[in-house]
Protein backbone atom coordinates (compact mmCIF):
# COMPACT_ATOMS: atom_id res chain seq x y z
CA UNK A 1 0.00 0.00 0.00
CA UNK A 2 1.22 3.49 -0.81
CA UNK A 3 1.31 6.14 1.89
CA UNK A 4 0.51 9.82 1.62
CA UNK A 5 2.47 12.55 3.40
CA UNK A 6 -0.20 12.34 6.14
CA UNK A 7 -0.62 8.59 6.68
CA UNK A 8 1.39 8.68 9.93
CA UNK A 9 -0.92 11.38 11.31
CA UNK A 10 -4.03 9.29 10.60
CA UNK A 11 -2.56 6.28 12.35
CA UNK A 12 -1.36 8.32 15.35
CA UNK A 13 -4.82 9.86 15.71
CA UNK A 14 -6.37 6.38 15.83
CA UNK A 15 -8.30 6.52 12.56
CA UNK A 16 -9.92 3.35 11.22
CA UNK A 17 -7.64 2.70 8.21
CA UNK A 18 -8.18 0.81 4.97
CA UNK A 19 -6.81 0.55 1.47
CA UNK A 20 -8.38 2.91 -1.05
CA UNK A 21 -7.11 3.17 -4.63
CA UNK A 22 -3.85 1.59 -3.51
CA UNK A 23 -3.31 4.07 -0.66
CA UNK A 24 -3.45 3.50 3.08
CA UNK A 25 -6.26 5.95 3.91
CA UNK A 26 -8.41 6.92 6.94
CA UNK A 27 -12.01 5.69 6.69
CA UNK A 28 -13.25 7.33 9.87
CA UNK A 29 -12.03 9.02 13.05
CA UNK A 30 -14.77 10.04 15.50
CA UNK A 31 -17.54 8.38 13.46
CA UNK A 32 -19.11 9.15 10.08
CA UNK A 33 -22.07 11.00 11.58
CA UNK A 34 -20.02 13.24 13.83
CA UNK A 35 -17.54 13.98 11.06
CA UNK A 36 -20.33 14.69 8.58
CA UNK A 37 -22.05 17.16 10.91
CA UNK A 38 -18.70 18.80 11.75
CA UNK A 39 -18.19 19.63 8.08
CA UNK A 40 -21.76 20.84 7.59
CA UNK A 41 -21.64 23.12 10.65
CA UNK A 42 -17.96 24.00 11.23
CA UNK A 43 -14.92 22.69 9.38
CA UNK A 44 -13.09 19.43 8.80
CA UNK A 45 -9.88 18.29 7.13
CA UNK A 46 -9.61 15.56 4.49
CA UNK A 47 -6.38 14.03 3.25
CA UNK A 48 -6.93 14.00 -0.51
CA UNK A 49 -3.29 13.47 -1.44
CA UNK A 50 -4.22 10.32 -3.31
CA UNK A 51 -5.83 12.42 -6.05
CA UNK A 52 -3.81 12.69 -9.28
CA UNK A 53 -2.30 15.86 -10.74
CA UNK A 54 -1.26 16.26 -14.39
CA UNK A 55 0.35 19.44 -15.72
CA UNK A 56 -0.31 20.45 -19.32
CA UNK A 57 2.00 23.14 -20.69
CA UNK A 58 3.08 24.92 -23.83
CA UNK A 59 1.45 26.29 -27.00
CA UNK A 60 -0.45 23.03 -27.61
CA UNK A 61 -1.85 22.81 -24.10
CA UNK A 62 -5.15 24.59 -24.79
CA UNK A 63 -5.99 22.47 -27.80
CA UNK A 64 -5.22 19.30 -25.83
CA UNK A 65 -7.42 20.18 -22.83
CA UNK A 66 -10.20 21.52 -25.05
CA UNK A 67 -10.31 18.28 -27.07
CA UNK A 68 -9.98 15.85 -24.16
CA UNK A 69 -12.51 17.47 -21.80
CA UNK A 70 -16.20 18.16 -22.37
CA UNK A 71 -16.47 21.60 -20.75
CA UNK A 72 -15.48 24.71 -22.71
CA UNK A 73 -11.91 25.60 -21.76
CA UNK A 74 -12.18 28.80 -23.84
CA UNK A 75 -14.54 30.10 -21.13
CA UNK A 76 -12.02 29.43 -18.38
CA UNK A 77 -10.14 32.47 -17.07
CA UNK A 78 -6.70 32.36 -15.45
CA UNK A 79 -7.12 31.67 -11.74
CA UNK A 80 -10.39 29.81 -12.24
CA UNK A 81 -11.30 26.12 -12.00
CA UNK A 82 -13.71 24.12 -14.10
CA UNK A 83 -15.45 20.82 -13.31
CA UNK A 84 -15.31 18.59 -16.37
CA UNK A 85 -14.95 15.04 -17.64
CA UNK A 86 -12.94 13.02 -20.16
CA UNK A 87 -15.32 11.39 -22.69
CA UNK A 88 -13.99 7.94 -23.62
CA UNK A 89 -14.59 7.92 -27.38
CA UNK A 90 -17.46 5.43 -27.00
CA UNK A 91 -19.96 7.79 -25.41
CA UNK A 92 -18.92 6.96 -21.85
CA UNK A 93 -16.70 8.68 -19.31
CA UNK A 94 -13.02 7.92 -18.59
CA UNK A 95 -13.09 10.05 -15.43
CA UNK A 96 -14.38 13.31 -14.00
CA UNK A 97 -11.83 15.98 -13.13
CA UNK A 98 -11.00 19.57 -12.29
CA UNK A 99 -9.27 21.81 -14.83
CA UNK A 100 -7.17 24.67 -13.41
CA UNK A 101 -6.05 27.42 -15.75
CA UNK A 102 -2.86 29.18 -14.65
CA UNK A 103 -2.40 30.96 -17.99
CA UNK A 104 -3.06 30.32 -21.69
CA UNK A 105 -0.23 27.80 -21.81
CA UNK A 106 -0.45 26.21 -18.35
CA UNK A 107 -3.21 23.93 -17.07
CA UNK A 108 -3.47 21.58 -14.11
CA UNK A 109 -5.77 18.55 -14.33
CA UNK A 110 -6.84 16.95 -11.05
CA UNK A 111 -8.20 13.41 -11.42
CA UNK A 112 -9.54 10.61 -9.22
CA UNK A 113 -7.03 8.48 -7.33
CA UNK A 114 -8.49 5.19 -8.57
CA UNK A 115 -8.12 6.35 -12.18
CA UNK A 116 -4.64 7.90 -12.26
CA UNK A 117 -3.06 5.16 -14.38
CA UNK A 118 -6.10 4.82 -16.63
CA UNK A 119 -6.37 8.61 -17.15
CA UNK A 120 -2.66 8.93 -17.77
CA UNK A 121 -2.68 6.21 -20.42
CA UNK A 122 -5.73 7.72 -22.10
CA UNK A 123 -4.30 11.24 -22.10
CA UNK A 124 -0.75 10.20 -22.97
CA UNK A 125 -1.69 8.63 -26.30
CA UNK A 126 -3.69 11.74 -27.26
CA UNK A 127 -0.95 14.08 -26.03
CA UNK A 128 1.63 12.29 -28.16
CA UNK A 129 -0.69 12.47 -31.17
CA UNK A 130 -1.15 16.19 -30.66
CA UNK A 131 2.58 16.82 -30.45
CA UNK A 132 2.98 17.38 -26.70
CA UNK A 133 6.23 16.14 -25.26
CA UNK A 134 5.54 13.60 -22.52
CA UNK A 135 7.31 14.44 -19.28
CA UNK A 136 7.66 18.09 -20.31
CA UNK A 137 4.43 19.45 -21.88
CA UNK A 138 2.40 16.70 -20.25
CA UNK A 139 3.65 15.75 -16.85
CA UNK A 140 2.35 13.46 -14.08
CA UNK A 141 3.04 15.15 -10.73
CA UNK A 142 0.72 12.88 -8.71
CA UNK A 143 3.49 11.29 -6.66
CA UNK A 144 5.08 14.64 -5.72
CA UNK A 145 2.05 16.59 -4.52
CA UNK A 146 0.06 16.20 -1.32
CA UNK A 147 -3.27 17.84 -0.74
CA UNK A 148 -5.58 18.72 2.13
CA UNK A 149 -9.22 19.70 1.70
CA UNK A 150 -10.51 21.95 4.48
CA UNK A 151 -14.26 21.97 4.11
CA UNK A 152 -17.12 23.65 5.95
CA UNK A 153 -18.63 27.10 6.52
CA UNK A 154 -15.75 28.20 8.82
CA UNK A 155 -12.93 26.85 6.64
CA UNK A 156 -11.92 30.01 4.79
CA UNK A 157 -12.12 32.16 7.92
CA UNK A 158 -9.79 29.77 9.75
CA UNK A 159 -7.36 29.40 6.85
CA UNK A 160 -7.11 33.16 6.36
CA UNK A 161 -4.94 33.17 9.50
CA UNK A 162 -2.24 31.29 7.57
CA UNK A 163 -1.67 33.63 4.64
CA UNK A 164 -1.44 37.29 3.81
CA UNK A 165 -3.14 36.63 0.47
CA UNK A 166 -6.82 37.55 0.59
CA UNK A 167 -8.72 34.25 0.52
CA UNK A 168 -11.88 34.78 2.53
CA UNK A 169 -13.64 36.61 -0.31
CA UNK A 170 -12.44 34.32 -3.10
CA UNK A 171 -15.14 33.12 -5.47
CA UNK A 172 -16.13 29.44 -5.49
CA UNK A 173 -13.95 27.45 -7.95
CA UNK A 174 -11.02 29.85 -8.14
CA UNK A 175 -7.41 29.50 -7.00
CA UNK A 176 -4.20 31.37 -6.39
CA UNK A 177 -0.59 30.48 -5.84
CA UNK A 178 0.47 31.96 -2.53
CA UNK A 179 2.71 31.74 0.46
CA UNK A 180 0.64 29.61 2.83
CA UNK A 181 1.70 28.69 6.38
CA UNK A 182 5.21 29.63 5.39
CA UNK A 183 5.14 27.29 2.38
CA UNK A 184 6.07 29.04 -0.84
CA UNK A 185 4.05 28.38 -4.00
CA UNK A 186 1.16 26.53 -2.37
CA UNK A 187 -1.90 26.28 -4.58
CA UNK A 188 -4.92 27.53 -2.64
CA UNK A 189 -8.18 26.56 -4.32
CA UNK A 190 -11.78 27.26 -3.27
CA UNK A 191 -12.96 23.87 -4.42
CA UNK A 192 -14.08 20.66 -2.73
CA UNK A 193 -16.61 17.89 -3.01
CA UNK A 194 -18.78 18.29 0.08
CA UNK A 195 -21.22 21.08 -0.79
CA UNK A 196 -20.29 22.98 2.38
CA UNK A 197 -17.69 25.35 0.91
CA UNK A 198 -14.07 25.62 1.91
CA UNK A 199 -10.82 25.05 0.11
CA UNK A 200 -8.24 22.56 -1.12
CA UNK A 201 -4.52 23.23 -0.69
CA UNK A 202 -1.78 21.60 -2.79
CA UNK A 203 1.84 21.55 -1.64
CA UNK A 204 4.94 19.45 -2.27
CA UNK A 205 5.13 16.22 -0.23
CA UNK A 206 8.06 17.52 1.83
CA UNK A 207 5.90 20.43 3.04
CA UNK A 208 3.05 18.14 4.11
CA UNK A 209 3.85 18.03 7.85
CA UNK A 210 4.16 21.79 8.01
CA UNK A 211 0.79 22.19 6.28
CA UNK A 212 -1.01 19.65 8.49
CA UNK A 213 0.28 21.17 11.74
CA UNK A 214 -0.53 24.73 10.69
CA UNK A 215 -4.04 23.87 9.47
CA UNK A 216 -5.03 22.11 12.70
CA UNK A 217 -3.54 24.86 14.85
CA UNK A 218 -5.36 27.58 12.91
CA UNK A 219 -8.64 25.66 13.03
CA UNK A 220 -8.49 24.70 16.69
CA UNK A 221 -10.54 27.65 17.96
CA UNK A 222 -13.24 26.87 15.35
CA UNK A 223 -13.58 23.19 16.30
CA UNK A 224 -11.62 21.66 13.40
CA UNK A 225 -11.55 17.83 13.13
CA UNK A 226 -9.94 15.29 10.80
CA UNK A 227 -12.45 13.60 8.47
CA UNK A 228 -12.24 10.18 6.82
CA UNK A 229 -13.34 8.83 3.46
CA UNK A 230 -16.61 7.52 4.94
CA UNK A 231 -17.94 11.00 5.62
CA UNK A 232 -16.46 12.23 2.34
CA UNK A 233 -18.86 9.83 0.61
CA UNK A 234 -21.96 10.75 2.67
CA UNK A 235 -21.23 14.48 2.23
CA UNK A 236 -20.84 14.30 -1.54
CA UNK A 237 -23.91 12.11 -1.91
CA UNK A 238 -26.06 14.38 0.25
CA UNK A 239 -25.01 17.21 -2.07
CA UNK A 240 -25.81 15.14 -5.17
CA UNK A 241 -22.25 15.02 -6.52
CA UNK A 242 -21.40 12.04 -8.73
CA UNK A 243 -18.79 9.50 -7.69
CA UNK A 244 -16.83 7.89 -10.51
CA UNK A 245 -17.25 4.12 -10.39
CA UNK A 246 -20.66 4.43 -8.76
CA UNK A 247 -22.76 7.02 -10.56
CA UNK A 248 -20.66 7.54 -13.68
CA UNK A 249 -18.38 5.13 -15.54
CA UNK A 250 -17.24 4.04 -18.99
CA UNK A 251 -20.79 3.05 -19.92
CA UNK A 252 -22.65 6.21 -18.85
CA UNK A 253 -22.71 9.51 -20.72
CA UNK A 254 -22.52 12.94 -19.12
CA UNK A 255 -26.02 13.65 -20.46
CA UNK A 256 -27.48 10.56 -18.77
CA UNK A 257 -25.71 11.47 -15.52
CA UNK A 258 -27.27 14.94 -15.42
CA UNK A 259 -23.91 16.50 -16.21
CA UNK A 260 -25.15 18.31 -19.31
CA UNK A 261 -23.88 21.51 -17.71
CA UNK A 262 -20.26 20.41 -18.14
CA UNK A 263 -20.77 19.58 -21.84
CA UNK A 264 -20.64 22.74 -23.94
CA UNK A 265 -21.74 22.30 -27.55
CA UNK A 266 -20.34 25.61 -28.79
CA UNK A 267 -18.14 26.58 -31.74
CA UNK A 268 -14.53 25.78 -31.05
CA UNK A 269 -15.24 23.06 -28.50
CA UNK A 270 -14.86 19.94 -30.62
CA UNK A 271 -14.29 17.51 -27.79
CA UNK A 272 -14.24 13.72 -28.06
CA UNK A 273 -17.78 12.26 -28.27
CA UNK A 274 -19.33 15.68 -28.81
CA UNK A 275 -21.55 14.36 -31.62
CA UNK A 276 -22.89 11.42 -29.60
CA UNK A 277 -23.64 13.52 -26.54
CA UNK A 278 -25.13 16.41 -28.52
CA UNK A 279 -27.51 13.94 -30.17
CA UNK A 280 -28.48 12.57 -26.75
CA UNK A 281 -29.11 16.07 -25.47
CA UNK A 282 -31.27 17.00 -28.47
CA UNK A 283 -33.16 13.73 -28.95
CA UNK A 284 -33.23 12.48 -25.37
CA UNK A 285 -31.67 9.45 -23.76
CA UNK A 286 -32.76 6.90 -21.16
CA UNK A 287 -32.11 5.85 -18.42
CA UNK A 288 -31.06 8.97 -16.51
CA UNK A 289 -29.45 9.52 -13.15
CA UNK A 290 -31.87 10.96 -10.58
CA UNK A 291 -31.74 11.64 -6.88
CA UNK A 292 -34.31 10.17 -4.51
CA UNK A 293 -35.36 10.21 -0.87
CA UNK A 294 -36.82 7.23 0.95
CA UNK A 295 -40.17 7.75 2.59
CA UNK A 296 -40.13 4.36 4.32
CA UNK A 297 -37.42 3.58 6.84
CA UNK A 298 -34.37 1.91 5.38
CA UNK A 299 -31.14 2.57 3.56
CA UNK A 300 -30.66 2.22 -0.19
CA UNK A 301 -27.33 0.85 -1.40
CA UNK A 302 -25.46 0.47 -4.69
CA UNK A 303 -26.98 -2.10 -7.09
CA UNK A 304 -30.36 -2.32 -5.32
CA UNK A 305 -33.17 -2.59 -7.88
CA UNK A 306 -35.75 0.14 -8.37
CA UNK A 307 -39.34 -0.87 -9.24
CA UNK A 308 -42.63 0.94 -9.87
CA UNK A 309 -45.93 0.47 -8.00
CA UNK A 310 -46.67 -2.56 -10.22
CA UNK A 311 -43.36 -4.16 -9.24
CA UNK A 312 -41.79 -3.77 -12.69
CA UNK A 313 -38.08 -3.02 -12.71
CA UNK A 314 -37.42 0.59 -13.74
CA UNK A 315 -33.85 1.21 -12.62
CA UNK A 316 -30.90 0.58 -10.34
CA UNK A 317 -29.39 2.43 -7.38
CA UNK A 318 -25.82 3.64 -7.98
CA UNK A 319 -25.19 5.31 -4.59
CA UNK A 320 -27.12 5.26 -1.35
CA UNK A 321 -26.76 6.10 2.30
CA UNK A 322 -28.57 7.46 5.33
CA UNK A 323 -28.46 11.25 5.29
CA UNK A 324 -27.04 12.35 8.65
CA UNK A 325 -28.75 15.74 8.24
CA UNK A 326 -32.33 14.76 7.29
CA UNK A 327 -32.13 11.27 8.83
CA UNK A 328 -33.63 9.57 5.82
CA UNK A 329 -32.36 7.15 3.24
CA UNK A 330 -31.10 9.03 0.17
CA UNK A 331 -29.50 7.98 -3.06
CA UNK A 332 -29.04 8.24 -6.79
CA UNK A 333 -30.35 5.79 -9.37
CA UNK A 334 -30.51 5.39 -13.12
CA UNK A 335 -34.24 5.45 -13.89
CA UNK A 336 -36.18 4.72 -17.06
CA UNK A 337 -38.16 7.44 -18.79
CA UNK A 338 -41.42 8.22 -17.05
CA UNK A 339 -39.90 8.41 -13.57
CA UNK A 340 -37.79 11.54 -13.87
CA UNK A 341 -40.10 14.20 -12.43
CA UNK A 342 -39.46 15.48 -8.93
CA UNK A 343 -41.97 13.76 -6.67
CA UNK A 344 -42.38 10.68 -8.90
CA UNK A 345 -43.13 7.61 -6.76
CA UNK A 346 -40.61 4.79 -6.99
CA UNK A 347 -39.80 1.76 -4.81
CA UNK A 348 -36.37 0.57 -3.77
CA UNK A 349 -35.97 -3.18 -3.29
CA UNK A 350 -34.21 -3.51 0.03
CA UNK A 351 -33.70 -7.21 0.66
CA UNK A 352 -37.20 -8.74 0.44
CA UNK A 353 -39.21 -5.50 0.63
CA UNK A 354 -40.17 -2.64 -1.69
CA UNK A 355 -39.58 0.60 0.19
CA UNK A 356 -41.40 3.70 -0.99
CA UNK A 357 -39.29 6.60 -2.22
CA UNK A 358 -39.74 9.68 -4.38
CA UNK A 359 -37.55 11.39 -6.94
CA UNK A 360 -35.93 14.52 -5.49
CA UNK A 361 -33.42 17.10 -6.55
CA UNK A 362 -30.25 17.34 -4.47
CA UNK A 363 -28.79 18.86 -2.35
CA UNK A 364 -30.87 16.75 0.02
CA UNK A 365 -29.71 18.45 3.21
CA UNK A 366 -31.05 21.86 2.21
CA UNK A 367 -34.66 20.75 1.79
CA UNK A 368 -36.07 20.89 5.26
Amino acid sequence: MKETAFTKYHINLGAKMAEFAGYHMPIEYSGIRDEHITVREKLGVFDVSHMGEFWVKGPKAFNFVQTLTSNNVADLLPGKVQYSCFPNGKGGIVDDLLVYKVDDETYLLVVNAANIAKDWNWCESHATEMGLEIGKDFYNASAEICQLAIQGPLALKAMQKLTSASIEKMEYYSFKKCDFAGIKDAIFSTTGYTGSGGCEIYVANEDGSKLWDAVFKAGEEFGIKPIGLGARDTLRLESGFCLYGNDINDETSAIQAGLGWITKFVDGNDFIDRDVWQKQKEEGVSPRLKGFILEDRGIPRQHYKVVNAEGEEIGEVTSGTMSPVINKGIGMAYLNEGYWKVGAEIFIQVRNKNLKAFVAKPPFHKRE
Binding site: G31, I32, R33, D233, R297, G298, I299, T321, M322
Partner: protein, 125 residues
Protein backbone atom coordinates in the same frame (compact mmCIF):
# COMPACT_ATOMS: atom_id res chain seq x y z
CA UNK B 1 -13.08 -2.93 24.32
CA UNK B 2 -15.64 -3.98 26.90
CA UNK B 3 -16.50 -7.71 27.30
CA UNK B 4 -18.52 -8.11 30.53
CA UNK B 5 -17.72 -11.32 32.40
CA UNK B 6 -21.37 -12.05 33.32
CA UNK B 7 -22.50 -12.56 29.70
CA UNK B 8 -22.08 -15.36 27.16
CA UNK B 9 -21.01 -14.76 23.54
CA UNK B 10 -21.04 -16.12 20.00
CA UNK B 11 -18.46 -15.96 17.23
CA UNK B 12 -20.96 -13.80 15.32
CA UNK B 13 -20.39 -11.10 17.97
CA UNK B 14 -23.71 -11.42 19.78
CA UNK B 15 -23.97 -11.46 23.55
CA UNK B 16 -26.66 -13.31 25.51
CA UNK B 17 -27.75 -13.08 29.11
CA UNK B 18 -29.71 -16.11 30.29
CA UNK B 19 -32.17 -15.82 33.15
CA UNK B 20 -34.06 -19.11 33.54
CA UNK B 21 -35.78 -19.86 30.21
CA UNK B 22 -35.71 -16.19 29.14
CA UNK B 23 -32.65 -14.58 27.56
CA UNK B 24 -31.69 -11.09 26.42
CA UNK B 25 -29.62 -10.75 23.22
CA UNK B 26 -27.56 -7.93 21.76
CA UNK B 27 -24.36 -7.25 19.82
CA UNK B 28 -20.97 -6.79 21.44
CA UNK B 29 -18.95 -3.63 21.93
CA UNK B 30 -16.49 -5.00 19.38
CA UNK B 31 -19.30 -5.46 16.83
CA UNK B 32 -20.64 -1.93 17.25
CA UNK B 33 -17.13 -0.50 16.88
CA UNK B 34 -16.55 -2.47 13.71
CA UNK B 35 -19.89 -1.38 12.24
CA UNK B 36 -19.45 2.32 13.03
CA UNK B 37 -22.44 4.63 13.36
CA UNK B 38 -25.55 2.46 13.53
CA UNK B 39 -28.47 4.12 11.79
CA UNK B 40 -31.12 1.42 11.49
CA UNK B 41 -32.06 -1.75 13.34
CA UNK B 42 -34.74 -3.85 11.66
CA UNK B 43 -36.24 -6.73 13.60
CA UNK B 44 -39.61 -7.97 12.35
CA UNK B 45 -39.57 -11.45 13.81
CA UNK B 46 -41.45 -10.87 17.07
CA UNK B 47 -43.54 -13.94 17.89
CA UNK B 48 -41.49 -16.21 15.64
CA UNK B 49 -39.40 -19.14 16.78
CA UNK B 50 -36.00 -19.02 15.12
CA UNK B 51 -33.26 -21.65 15.03
CA UNK B 52 -29.80 -21.10 16.43
CA UNK B 53 -27.56 -19.45 13.82
CA UNK B 54 -30.50 -18.18 11.74
CA UNK B 55 -31.13 -14.49 11.05
CA UNK B 56 -33.59 -12.65 13.28
CA UNK B 57 -33.01 -9.16 11.89
CA UNK B 58 -30.56 -6.78 10.28
CA UNK B 59 -28.48 -3.91 11.54
CA UNK B 60 -27.31 -1.10 9.30
CA UNK B 61 -24.46 1.31 9.78
CA UNK B 62 -23.79 4.19 7.44
CA UNK B 63 -21.50 2.13 5.24
CA UNK B 64 -22.52 -1.48 5.87
CA UNK B 65 -25.41 -3.79 6.57
CA UNK B 66 -25.11 -6.91 8.69
CA UNK B 67 -27.41 -9.76 9.73
CA UNK B 68 -28.30 -10.48 13.35
CA UNK B 69 -28.00 -14.17 14.29
CA UNK B 70 -29.78 -16.15 17.00
CA UNK B 71 -27.26 -17.35 19.61
CA UNK B 72 -29.60 -20.21 20.56
CA UNK B 73 -32.98 -21.41 19.34
CA UNK B 74 -35.96 -19.60 20.79
CA UNK B 75 -39.09 -17.53 20.35
CA UNK B 76 -38.66 -13.76 19.98
CA UNK B 77 -40.92 -12.43 22.72
CA UNK B 78 -39.86 -8.79 22.76
CA UNK B 79 -37.95 -6.34 20.54
CA UNK B 80 -36.27 -3.36 22.20
CA UNK B 81 -38.69 -0.52 21.37
CA UNK B 82 -35.99 2.14 21.86
CA UNK B 83 -34.03 1.03 18.80
CA UNK B 84 -36.53 2.33 16.27
CA UNK B 85 -36.13 5.93 17.38
CA UNK B 86 -32.58 5.74 18.72
CA UNK B 87 -30.52 3.07 16.92
CA UNK B 88 -27.34 4.90 18.00
CA UNK B 89 -28.01 3.50 21.48
CA UNK B 90 -26.38 0.30 20.22
CA UNK B 91 -23.15 2.28 19.76
CA UNK B 92 -23.27 4.07 23.08
CA UNK B 93 -24.48 1.25 25.35
CA UNK B 94 -24.49 -2.12 23.55
CA UNK B 95 -24.80 -4.25 26.71
CA UNK B 96 -27.61 -2.42 28.50
CA UNK B 97 -29.94 0.15 26.91
CA UNK B 98 -28.95 -1.09 23.42
CA UNK B 99 -30.17 -4.69 23.79
CA UNK B 100 -31.92 -6.17 20.73
CA UNK B 101 -34.42 -8.89 21.67
CA UNK B 102 -35.69 -11.02 24.51
CA UNK B 103 -36.21 -14.68 23.65
CA UNK B 104 -37.86 -17.68 25.22
CA UNK B 105 -35.33 -20.50 25.06
CA UNK B 106 -36.60 -23.81 23.68
CA UNK B 107 -33.46 -25.92 24.16
CA UNK B 108 -31.40 -24.93 27.19
CA UNK B 109 -28.65 -27.44 26.34
CA UNK B 110 -27.52 -25.24 23.42
CA UNK B 111 -26.15 -22.82 25.98
CA UNK B 112 -23.18 -25.18 26.33
CA UNK B 113 -21.95 -24.07 22.89
CA UNK B 114 -21.74 -20.39 23.86
CA UNK B 115 -18.44 -18.69 24.55
CA UNK B 116 -17.37 -17.31 27.91
CA UNK B 117 -16.07 -13.72 28.08
CA UNK B 118 -12.49 -15.04 28.10
CA UNK B 119 -13.10 -17.29 25.11
CA UNK B 120 -14.78 -14.46 23.18
CA UNK B 121 -11.93 -12.11 24.01
CA UNK B 122 -9.58 -14.57 22.38
CA UNK B 123 -11.61 -14.68 19.14
CA UNK B 124 -11.43 -10.90 18.73
CA UNK B 125 -7.76 -10.90 19.79
Amino acid sequence: MSVPANLMYTEDHEWIKIDGDIATVGITDYAQQQLGDIVFVEIETEGETIEKGETFGTIEAVKTVSDLFMPITGEIIEVNPKLEEAPETVNSDPYNVGWMVKIKITDASQADDLLSADAYNETIG
